[in-house]
Amino acid sequence: MNFTINVWRQNGPKERGGIATYKVSNISDDMSFLEMIDVLNEQLIIQDIEPVVFDHDCREGICGMCSMFINGEAHGPGRGVTTCQLHMREFKDGDTITIEPFRAKAFPIIKDLMVDRGSFDRIIQAGGYVSVNTSGNLPDANATPIEKQDADAAFDAATCIGCGACVATCKNASAMLFTSAKVSQLSLLPQGKIEASERVMNMVKQMDLEGFGNCTNTGACEVECPKGISIENIARMNREYLSASITSK
């Protein structure tokens, strides 16, 4: 297969970026999208053009590092996949493919397709944990039974890989799905309930400080989320925050 690749090139956070066009040929349909980029980059190096910088690591859809906006969609046209799990058989021979970085004020571009998602780390640092120190003397793991339904819902929320597709895809660049997934996971479990009010207040505050947009419930995030995190979590966070705001002293 042959493709025309329109890819965003930008030298640094403050520099002007723009689309550059390259051709790649002899791409097999078994290749993943990132392997196609590997081929492009090897070709660029031989032509003395600096390769396209992009984030990637595990290449099996779990680390959340890859972050491309392909043909107008986060992680491209596939559903339930990250860019590394997208295969070239999803495209037609001769297609023109446009690749951009995940764009948001809170995800400044570092170079080309690589963005800084440190804002996500800071949201977690604001409260995405249970305040418990390492200790060999904690209660036995089976001391508190947890309803299976809650444990499963907490797990579903916890499968978030922090890739930022929700932000990238949201027309408002909102981080509600990401933030609410962690709030939900911990508020569903008895271990996390104890500091649930403080957690949701602090995490939302940090989310706002980072400059993400607001949620207008378009639902685009859950459609593009590679892990299928539901916007039920956003509703849960809205609920938790409302009650925390009203009842807090």
């Binding site: 392997e35 590997d38 090897e42 800084d116 944990y129 249970v130 444990a151």
Partner: protein
């Protein structure tokens, strides 16, 4: 003189750790505030160690090359984590976990370390649950367990097929809490490129800021390497693209011995290589072997016809299929340990029975399971004479409920429906049991330098059991290092801040800079990736699932040639003082090119077959591994000398077994 003192405490096996902990010197809270610790890597071992040490009061700097600690490759672990909780009342105990691990490792690990691992395993589960890790639960609300290969009890805790992710996010949240408190300084997108040794002690690192390209100096009273394994030396593996040996190798060059580097684990159930541009291999969980049957065609002509696309696997009748694991190992069948299953697949493919284009794949077939489950389900539903389609439909439903996400993943990658046609699988490099040599306290041969998790060699011997890697990473980070690193640091309470303005830091920084400039100035014609791929091919063919003396010698010669070519012909664009992922990659590949040679030397020196290390010269008539306990029951620790991996010096740490009897593993 050998520096290898394992520092195993006195006393009976079960008492060693408790006694040791009660006797070690402590550091007062006020003094902890004066002490700096560097943790390199933020996987399970790194995040848990950094968080725990920060909670104790040390000043911690945590480094990772990814953009966030949460992305470390521990996140990709699927199956589960072992712990001797005995919740299932099936006879599990600390000793049994210890025994299974020693035996699974083919008697090439240290008894005292493994027993400690088994001892703290239960606390890991308590710790993780308290952190909000959503383990799978039963309807009664208690934790669920599953069984894994090589053991007879159900002691594996899991969170669907994403246990590693959930555990890592737990450790990451603990780390994040300390970052918020200012106890940990987090340096993401930073890669350690040099270890700094002052007066014989590890006193800091040189790290490259991967965004700006700047070389930074960071000093500390102790440095802890939690940098994972080196499976990427094979180019294709289940490791992440960025996983590398550089931190460990730089430490090795500064005096840290590397132990048993040839012990690599080849996982039997991975999706086969599909083409030359493939960048990584994807694991399919070992749990699939519970219900899937592995086979190749009985006749080579059929295999050829399938390879050429003239025949479909479903066309082949039962009597023309060779269920080779069931044939060779009737007792364990498809559930033999990983090393055995991998070698058997290779044996069939080498003999010409492989079934994909490359000839390197075997079938993992669920049709029997679908039929079995379907018949059962029909019976439960009271359907007296179910049609074949009905059985299939019901059976597929049950298989979906058990393995749905794995089947989906397989279909995403291969575009084949595994319910209709058997899966194709082939072994792939997955884990490295070898690593930096450490003593009982997890300290390397460089005082003040520690190695935790997969980066060290300590607990898995020649073969790791499923669901034990997560256990070891968290055991080291949460429950071992906080004590043993503290012991070391107790002698540093009056040292004061370590200056980065010293000749040692100068030297380390300029070494790193010169090396990088060397790559940029080489003005060659070949991209880094090409060398890595070539190295991988050498390693996979000569130092992979089966090794022999001749092949290993050839590999050593080939690697040396490739290494020379690399330095003269590598092409890296860009500059040193800017973001330059190709330059970073060049540094990593350069280290792999040295490590690869050492691995082959180690494999050559170990003239026996054990665990993941199979020397063709040392096998029984039936093709089974022959271990030689009288000659090779030792840890091979290699010292780097004369600036040449080929001149590495072998030190032996004899392994003594006082609590288990050395037996030959048999799965027949």
């Amino acid at each position: 003189m050998s520096k290898l003192n394992s520092n195993i405490p006195e006393g009976s096996l079960a008492e060693k750790w408790t006694k040791h902990k009660s006797k070690i010197p402590l550091v007062s809270p006020a003094n902890k505030r004066q002490i700096d610790v560097i943790v390199v890597g933020t996987g399970l071992a790194g995040s848990s160690a950094a968080a725990s040490l920060a909670e104790l009061g040390y000043n911690v700097k945590a480094f990772c090359f990814q953009d966030s600690p949460r992305r470390a490759h521990s996140i990709a672990a699927q199956g589960g984590i072992n712990a001797a909780k005995n919740y299932q009342n099936d006879g599990d105990s600390t000793f049994r976990l210890f025994y299974d691990t020693i035996k699974g490792g083919d008697y090439r690990s240290r008894e005292a370390n493994v027993h400690r691992l088994a001892e703290v395993s239960a606390s890991i589960i308590d710790q993780c649950v308290a952190q909000g890790v959503p383990f799978a639960r039963e309807y009664g609300g208690l934790l669920d367990n599953r069984s894994f290969g090589g053991v007879q009890v159900s002691r594996t805790f899991y969170a669907k097929g994403q246990t590693g992710q959930q555990l890592l996010l737990g450790a990451y949240s603990a780390l994040s809490r300390q970052v918020a408190k200012g106890r940990v300084e987090l340096l993401s997108r930073h890669e350690m490129v040099e270890l700094v040794v002052v007066d014989g002690k590890s006193r800091g690192i040189i790290a490259r800021n991967l965004v700006t390209g700047e070389l930074e100096r960071h000093s500390a009273h102790a440095v802890i390497l939690c940098t994972g394994g080196y499976g990427n030396v094979f180019y294709l593996s289940t490791n992440a693209m960025g996983s590398n040996v550089t931190a460990a190798w730089k430490a090795h060059r500064k005096g840290a011995y590397i132990a048993n580097p040839c012990f690599t684990q080849i996982h039997p159930t991975c999706i086969p290589v599909s083409g030359d541009s493939q960048s990584k291999l994807t694991l399919m969980s070992e749990s699939l072997r519970n219900d899937g049957r592995i086979w190749v065609p009985k006749n080579a002509e059929d295999a050829l016809a399938i390879r050429e696309g003239k025949m479909k696997p479903t066309d082949l009748s039962e009597e023309n299929r060779d269920y080779y694991l069931e044939r060779r190992y009737p007792a364990f069948g498809n559930l033999v340990p990983r090393d055995v299953a991998s070698r058997a697949a290779k044996e069939r493919c080498d003999a010409g029975f492989g079934i994909n284009k490359t000839g390197e794949a075997v079938y993992l077939d669920f049709s029997s399971a679908i039929k079995r489950f379907g018949t059962e389900a029909a019976h439960v539903k009271g359907i007296k004479t179910p049609s074949e389609d009905e059985i299939k439909r019901l059976g597929e439903k049950i298989v979906e409920s058990k393995y749905g996400n794995l089947f989906q993943m397989y279909e995403k990658i291969t575009a084949q429906n595994p319910y209709k046609t058997p899966m194709m699988i082939y072994p792939a490099v997955h884990y490295t049991m070898g690593g930096v040599w450490v003593d009982y306290n997890l300290m390397t041969t460089v005082p003040g330098l520690f190695a935790l998790g997969e980066a060290n060699f300590s607990d898995h011997g020649a073969n790791r059991l499923g669901a034990s890697a997560l256990m070891q990473g968290l055991a080291d980070g949460y429950f071992v290092a906080p004590y043993t690193v503290g012991t070391y640091l107790s002698q540093d309470i009056t040292t004061g801040k370590i200056s980065t303005d010293s000749p040692e830091f100068d030297e380390a920084e300029s070494t790193a800079r010169n090396r990088m400039e060397g790559f940029l100035n080489s003005k060659g014609n070949t991209p880094v990736e090409v060398f890595h791929r070539d190295l991988g091919k050498i390693m996979w063919s000569q130092c992979g699932m089966a090794r022999n003396s001749e092949g290993l010698k050839k590999a050593i010669a080939d690697i040396r040639i490739l290494r020379d070519k690399f330095y003269s012909d590598v092409k890296v664009l860009g500059k040193i003082d800017e973001m330059n992922p190709e330059l970073d990659k060049a540094g990593r590949v350069a280290d792999f090119l040295e490590l690869g040679e050492l691995m082959c030397m180690d494999a050559l020196a170990r003239e026996e077959s054990c665990g993941g290390h199979f020397r063709e010269e040392f096998q029984s008539k039936e093709g089974e591994a022959v271990r030689k306990d009288d000659e090779f029951a030792f840890v091979a620790a290699w010292e780097f000398t004369e600036n040449d991996p080929g001149k590495s010096k072998l030190h032996k740490e004899e392994l003594t077994f006082e609590n288990v009897e050395l037996n030959t593993r048999s799965y027949k």
